[in-house]
């Protein structure tokens, strides 16, 4: 591995050139590289540093004002905060995933296939990964797989209402009683069937091919109260409002509560024909259809809303880079002396203790390399945020590299601020630059 944590550098210090090259020949071999590096990398650093001291169009000298603006302006402060979150969370998360995968895949025979799958996203562009995860995080559970799973799990544990938007018809005795529930003004008594007509749903939108509603039998069974909840609407018109006409559809599974003095004394659910029966104790109570019957369906999590957008994008990043951490750590793991692990086991350590006290400490150098590499990478994160964060929440998800682009090219036109942000990004990776150089020096002295 190179770059930040430079790989082993073969000693070159005292070595003589093989052929006693004439200096101008060496110059010819080096010239293209040095010219290109000078013009395309070194010169821009100097120019950016200089340009960051001037205002938006470069006409007035402003000193360090552009840097001050980065740390006072609300928009750039959000970027600073989000970049800090990225650097604090993403590398640790990715390294932890890589460590877990590397250790566990050692124990199955198809570990290589697993590694191939997890490493694959490293090959694709952040743009493609961004499009992939925009699709994953689509709000509509019928589009985005993340919400499809969340809603599926949610609905498996919580009853979802099937009649959102339904409401009592005009002629009904039911009136809205706050919080989305409807309560009858009158009271029920045994022997008088309770008719609870609802409207507001198209008959063809009813789930599960509903049966025709059946009027409650007037004959009270031993003082019990019966009633019907149905859709008081007939396709093609006709029918009497407030009466159960032939062909009107039953509303199955609606919860009906009997309320007396604000207390629920009995409750029942409507059957396939829309009928329900309440025990005698409900006599004289008001009927209430609780709000749960009409709640809007659970629509999943707003992944790309203002609060979750950064964690969601970090999730996409982890998907891309876990393979990188895994492969590096697995390579380190291959170099760990198995006898040390075995010795710990013989001494009575359980697997967790072996992992925690032996494996991880032995892997520490590799883990540091992975962490540092990811940190450098994450400081400059741009494409993923730019693509995944939708326009309304892009300001909530913004990071330094994104605001640098927006300030200078994405409509901002402020090259002063943009240059300052570029220099800040450079300063952030400067410590790694020094570590690289020191390592190089050390290797050479050996």
């Amino acid at each position: 591995m190179a770059g930040g944590p430079a790989g082993p550098v073969p000693p070159a210090g005292k070595r003589k050139s093989v052929m006693g090259t004439r200096p101008w020949v060496a110059g010819l071999f080096l010239l293209p590289a040095l010219v290109l590096l000078g013009a395309l990398v070194v010169y821009p650093i100097g120019y950016s540093a200089w340009r960051s001291l001037f205002d938006a169009d470069g006409s007035g000298f402003v000193g360090l004002d552009n840097y001050g603006e980065v740390f006072t302006n609300d928009a750039t402060l959000t970027a600073v905060k989000n970049t800090a979150i990225w650097v604090a969370v993403a590398p640790a998360l990715v390294t932890a995933l890589g460590l877990i995968f590397a250790v566990l895949t050692e124990r199955v025979r198809w570990g290589t296939a697993f590694k191939l799958i997890v490493f694959m996203p490293m090959a694709i562009s952040m743009l493609a990964a961004g499009i992939i995860f925009r699709l994953v995080y689509e709000q509509n559970p019928d589009q985005g797989v993340a919400n499809a799973v969340v809603v599926g799990v949610h609905d498996a544990f919580a009853d979802s209402s099937v009649y959102p938007n339904a409401r009592p018809s005009q002629v009904s005795d039911l009136k809205a009683s706050g919080g989305g529930a409807f309560t009858s003004r009158g009271t029920v008594s045994a022997g008088t069937p309770a008719l609870l007509p609802l409207v507001g749903i198209a008959p063809n939108k009813l789930p599960d091919d509903p049966a025709d509603a059946k009027a409650p039998t007037a004959k009270a069974e031993a003082g019990r109260i019966s009633g019907t909840v149905w859709l008081d609407f007939k396709l093609g018109g006709g029918g009497e409002k407030g009466a159960v006409d032939a062909g009107e559809k039953a509303l199955k599974g609606i919860k009906v509560e009997a309320v007396r003095d604000g207390k629920v004394v009995a409750s029942a659910s409507t059957g396939a024909e829309g009928t329900f029966t309440l025990p005698k104790s409900a006599d004289g109570a008001q009927l209430r259809l609780p709000a749960a019957n009409f709640a809007a369906p659970y629509n999943g999590i707003e992944w790309l809303g203002p609060t979750l957008v950064t964690p969601a994008i970090i999730g996409a990043y982890a998907w891309m880079w876990a393979g990188f951490a895994m492969v590096l750590i697995a390579a380190g793991l291959a170099g760990v002396d198995r006898n040390l692990l075995e010795a710990a086991r013989v001494d009575g350590a359980n697997e967790w203790q072996v992992f925690r006290r032996v494996t991880v400490p032995l892997l520490a150098p590799v883990l540091v390399v992975v962490l540092v590499t990811l940190m450098i990478n994450v400081m400059k994160i741009f494409d993923l945020v730019y693509i995944i964060a939708p326009q309304p929440t892009q300001d909530d998800a913004t990071v330094l590299a994104l605001i640098m682009y927006n300030a200078s090219f994405g409509g901002g036109g402020n090259f002063g601020l943009g240059s300052a942000l570029g220099i800040i990004l450079l300063l952030l990776v400067l410590p790694v630059m020094f570590v690289n150089i020191r390592r190089l020096r050390r290797e050479r002295q050996r």
Partner: protein, 309 residues
């Protein structure tokens, strides 16, 4: 390779207390063997679930790219598994009729190939000089190259946009290529110099005794023997440029933009453009994935080495 027992870290249902094997002969109790078998099952299920989790997003994109826009709007991509009749290549057909997309694909190639070849050639020349030639300040120059390894591209966007503007190549493919060459070189020189320095001195001396000059040494000894490193570098640089969006976003215009830039313009109305985005993204992934599966070893070493960029 396969350790006998399983860490209790991940499968939580593993019996927490795994009896330590008796200190004597490593014969494991029946209970331990059963628990380890069960834990092995848990481990396998866990890894399979993770693998599924990792492929699902890509499968979603692939499935979406083979569906009708109306089907996409009406239901999730997973429906193709129950209704394979929905599969259609229509999106791809209309994508290839879209001139913006096809010319962007061509531009991607015209940017990527020269940027890769130039970096390999110029980097190999400099790497050779740093590894085997004596000149004043050699170590100092090499330290400078190493220092440039981690310079973020952002620092050069503004200066080079002004410089390229002055030179009249802003918005031109040449500008995009030049930018990638500049920022590809430090890593190229670093990687190749280290690899070239490992070439046995005797081989170079023998060639020299045969009367080979620098250029011939470079072409007939260094390049062939350095092929593995050159391959890794080439693959890394190729993918880096192919997958780049930011540099091209700044330095290309509507005539010279590569696929990534053409596609990002469509993400503003994500839902409405999915029939362009899904197949487009998949086309942009085909080449990198092909490289990945064809050259796994070089790919991994190249990506590992260059990840710091």
């Amino acid at each position: 390779m396969s350790a006998p027992s399983v860490p209790s870290s991940v499968p939580p249902s593993t019996p927490a207390k795994e009896t330590p094997p008796p200190a004597g002969p490593p014969e494991r109790s029946i209970a331990a063997r059963i628990s380890s078998g069960a834990a092995g099952g848990v481990l396998r299920v866990f890894l399979i679930l993770v693998a599924l989790l990792w492929v699902t997003p890509t499968v979603g994109l692939l499935a979406s790219s083979f569906r009708d826009p109306t089907d996409i709007a009406a239901s999730g991509w997973w429906e193709v598994f129950s209704k394979p009749a929905q599969l259609t290549t229509e999106s791809y057909a209309s994508l290839f009729e879209n001139d913006d997309v096809t010319s962007a694909l061509v531009n991607t190639v015209w940017i990527t190939v020269p940027a890769t070849l130039l970096v390999v050639l110029v980097g190999a020349m400099a790497g050779y000089a740093f590894a085997w030639m004596d000149f004043k300040g050699r170590d100092w120059w090499f330290v400078l190259v190493v220092a440039l390894l981690v310079v973020p591209v952002q620092v050069a966007l503004i200066p080079l946009s002004e410089l390229f503007g002055t030179l009249g190549i802003f918005g031109d493919i040449i500008g995009v290529v030049l930018f990638h060459v500049g920022f590809g070189l430090p890593f190229a020189i670093f990687l190749l110099r280290n690899f070239f320095a490992e070439i046995p001195r005797e081989l170079l001396e023998a060639a020299r005794l045969d009367g080979a000059g620098e250029t011939r040494l470079f072409a007939t000894v260094i390049l062939p023997l350095g092929a593995p490193a050159i391959a890794s570098l080439g693959i890394f640089q190729f993918l880096w440029v192919w997958n780049d969006m930011l540099v091209a976003l700044v330095f290309s215009d509507s005539q010279s933009q590569p696929l990534t830039v053409a596609l990002q313009a469509q993400t503003r109305q994500f839902g409405g453009n999915i029939e362009i985005l899904a197949p487009g993204a998949f086309i942009s992934m085909v080449i990198p994935l092909a490289v990945f599966f064809a050259f796994q070893r070089q790919f991994v070493s190249g990506v590992m080495a260059g990840a710091v960029k």
